[in-house]
Assembly symmetry: C4
Homo-oligomer: 199 residues x 4
């Protein structure tokens, strides 16, 4: 072979770079209020809250992505492109966040936010399918991946549900947006528990 | 020598950083529609599609750049500056993408998009010339490089063709813009096939 | 465990990426004056000064963050999320800086700037609590952490004080904003003194 | 010592990140022309040319910074802050570039561009003073540094000269802006010659 394999660390560094930029450029959409008063600031609050929510969502995705890449055994073309597919949908998060923050009472923006997160969830699913294939000879890993995938399907289905739900009640969709980070946040704590010195 | 060589990993890390930023800042040009309605969103669709196309183009360039840098044996000044030349033309992709997305029916913007990608292709060609020189003693590598260069010349010529073609029919130019990623996407799959565990 | 630990170097690389972006995108808010004249430039001076101040503040945070992460012994979930909490408040610095620069005589913007820096200081405090827990068996380290925390509490309290103070006199708040970098800048010099060859 | 030294690779990675962002965000100031016509594009040409010039200037600074950091023996506080001082003045390049591109016939913008580059040159000088101190026992290195500093003083003085010169003739200042990259570009080629395989 005239050219070397892409290492997982290379893939991770590039992904980390893109994710770091995604999470940070969102703040550029927090425009200074036109008036230097608290009421004017209060009007920016929905933009700020949607930024906070998306920061949390992207942070969770970053942590999950990190764990996922660590389980990779070889950078296949399928893995490379599944990963770029995920980064593409993640790169739209600043756009849907900004649109939501500026029009947070409109079903369209709520639905679009849910749609992009559902697509991110599906992209994670596709990415892990490649890992399952790599680990097909290892029953313990197959079982581990199955557990993560179940949770992922559940989260993606909820995000998909938030799309039509936005037309019934945007609050129901917001409830889903708040529920999923909470759901991911807690188990991550448990999973990572094993790292602690003394454990 | 009072100062050390630049390692290829350093060169790659810097290039990866620039490419990660290029691919991500393009999303800043996806401005939230003025009205929170689906028809208003639909008007943004061309901007979105041009973003998607450029994301794919830059992703392919990133993968090719990675393979190219892995074949490097020494960071010469010529290599360094050929690489910076490539990054310069790549850095203009967000600009031509935005201009195309906002005026996708105008020959000017279509031609300019084709021009920048033709220049990126030419920059890749110049960069590989330096590699061919480094590998001139290795017939297998010379043959490998010749194959990649042929494909590159073909793609760059097509992009160059899309410039005048935009004044005949912008659809013909769009066909070229869709054809080249497809052409690169498929062989990359084949080339990377050797990485797969079990292969 | 089916997935590996996150290494401190990984955590640091991601944090460095986010901090590098925070410090650099602030310059995007330095808009070119409408008129190419020195008086027009002079009107931009407060925006420039607030940029310079925030550059210094973020640079100090980066240096402190670096020292902090080097003392980490294991990346626990608590550490990971405390770090993301810090990055979140740091990511708001470009926003409060821009708001301050454009309305530097208004108590609201001065108070908001102080508030965000107080929250960053508190986030540093929370992050180090996890380190203290990790090093609880090492009296020398416990004492070292206690010293850093005292200084941190002092700085955060001053930043918190600058919030109500802005309504008394914005100059008093500005004095605090200038004092704290000076306070951090000097000891850092002493601490780092041990690195010098010949020392 | 309770906390480890900052390694030069860490310092370089952070600096590379900031420089990669500086060089890339400048393209965000290339706004799509209001009309999709070649005459409208032609009006953007000065903005494009100033972008191209600054890309080259920052690229040369990146290469020089890389060589400089490789000669570092220990990351002292003085080195750290001299480096942050350099990054600060470099971070203003997108601002002065944008201002110049939009008002390229005005002495103010030309002078400001020259001023920022003179400050960058001076920051490089200060940074290398610390290196000279570190290498004071090595006559060969002292001589090498002295040569680089002479060139740096010459370039910085020319940039400083371009400030008053802009009020005599902006073309004289532009001549300096073109001359210095040429001057740096050529010797870099010679210095790097030793890297080439077979040399």
């Amino acid at each position: 072979m005239p050219h070397g394999e892409m290492t997982t660390s290379r893939l991770e560094a590039f992904s980390d770079g893109v994710i770091a930029i995604i999470v940070t450029i969102m703040v550029l959409e927090l425009r200074a209020p036109s008036q230097p008063t608290w009421p004017a600031l209060l009007k920016v609050a929905p933009v700020f809250l949607s930024y906070g929510l998306s920061f949390l969502v992207v942070a969770i995705m970053w942590v999950n992505h990190h764990h996922l890449i660590h389980a990779v055994r070889g950078v296949t073309a399928r893995l490379l492109w599944s990963n770029l597919n995920l980064l593409f949908w993640m790169s739209l998060i600043p756009f849907v966040t900004d649109f939501l923050g500026k029009n947070y009472r409109e079903p369209v923006t709520v639905a679009l936010y849910g749609l992009d997160l559902a697509l991110c969830g599906s992209a994670f699913y596709l990415l892990r399918i490649e890992l399952v294939r790599q680990d097909s000879g290892n029953p313990e890993m197959v079982q581990y991946h199955a557990g993560v995938q179940r949770k992922n399907v559940f989260a993606s289905a909820l995000y998909a549900l938030s799309i039509p739900l936005a037309y019934v009640s945007i609050y129901a969709s917001f409830f889903i947006f708040a529920l999923i980070p909470a759901m991911y946040f807690l188990p991550e704590k448990k999973l990572a528990g094993g790292y602690e010195p003394g454990a």
